[in-house]
Amino acid sequence: MRILHAMAATLVALLIVSPVFAKEAMPLAEDPVVEQRLIHISEELRCLVCQNESLAGSQAELAQDLRREVRDLIKQGNSDQQIKDFLVSRYGDFVLYRPQLKPTTWLLWGGPFVLLIVGLAVLVSYLRRRSKLIVEAPLSEEDRKRAEILLKGEQS
């Protein structure tokens, strides 16, 4: 029991003390405007090392290098498009999370809409065909009587 108490005390002490050991936050950047644009651009770019992370969020070494490169390009006065083109010319369209609209990506962008239209067409044609199959069947007086007898018979 005493050991448990001691352990708990140590744990509490560690929890209280640990912030002292934490590293101080790094200054964001010398120029907040550049940093803002860097984040804006790099959120739309894929980190090629960890492919499901954006360039903004990745801690991979290549991502850090590429952020440095993008930062330099911003400082040199390049537009967002120029910076994206810089990376695409080296790493291919794959770096863009939002693929460009061009003949090779038409299917990618248009595919879902094409599927939707095809689906609607199939649905409409099916419904039309089905409505033709249902023939109006008028109930004759005789039928009505038979139905009534049957219904009553069931009740009794």
Binding site: L48, V49, Q51, E61, L62, D65, L66, E69, V88, S89, R90, Y91, G92, D93, F94
Partner: protein, 174 residues
């Protein structure tokens, strides 16, 4: 019977797509640089800090540029294959020591063998970025006119060497 054929057909097509998708390697991103001139650079050499290397010096030759580093585990895997390749004398092999410490690089080559004509030093990774390097090792085949003809991402395997790189070098040397 007929009404099951269409769903079955769609299902088979879908399975086909998924099967192909599973076999693709997401690490292998087709490089836009294949078919384009190799980006120029001028960086110091590994063994001789004062001497520079630029791809222009290789103009008129079919050559290989291999990106390596002492910290790269798969480089060790491909290194014996590169050593063999260098011995065969098929094409000159230039190393690009990527984001490495000079002394580590030199020590690594002394330990595992040096297949390179020379190694250029890309200490901050800038040359690597221009070549679209994202996973060391990477190997480029560059033709006489300085155009990149092939890029291998990841270690060069004997199969890649025999089936792709060597035939391509021979073709380009004709």
């Amino acid at each position: 019977m007929n009404r099951f054929l269409l769903p079955l057909g769609i299902f088979i097509v879908l399975v086909g797509f998924l099967a192909v998708g599973l076999r693709l390697n997401p690490r292998e991103v087709p490089s836009p640089l294949v078919g384009k001139p190799a980006p120029d650079f001028s960086v110091p050499q590994l063994h001789d800090e004062t001497a520079m290397f630029s791809p222009k010096e290789m103009a008129g030759k079919v050559w290989l540029l291999n990106v390596w580093a002492s910290w790269c585990v798969s480089c060790r895997e491909e290194h014996p294959i590169l050593n063999e390749f260098a011995k065969s004398g098929t094409a000159p092999l230039v190393g690009l020591n990527y984001k490495d410490k000079r002394e580590d690089g030199i020590r690594w080559l002394a330990r595992f063998g040096d297949p390179y004509l020379l190694s250029a030093v890309d200490s901050d990774g800038r040359v690597g970025i221009n070549y679209g390097v994202y996973g060391v090792p990477e190997t480029y085949v560059i033709d006489k006119a300085g155009v990149i003809r092939f890029k291998q991402i990841g270690p060069v395997t004997p199969a890649v060497l025999q089936q792709k790189i060597i035939p391509l070098v021979q073709e380009l040397n004709k």
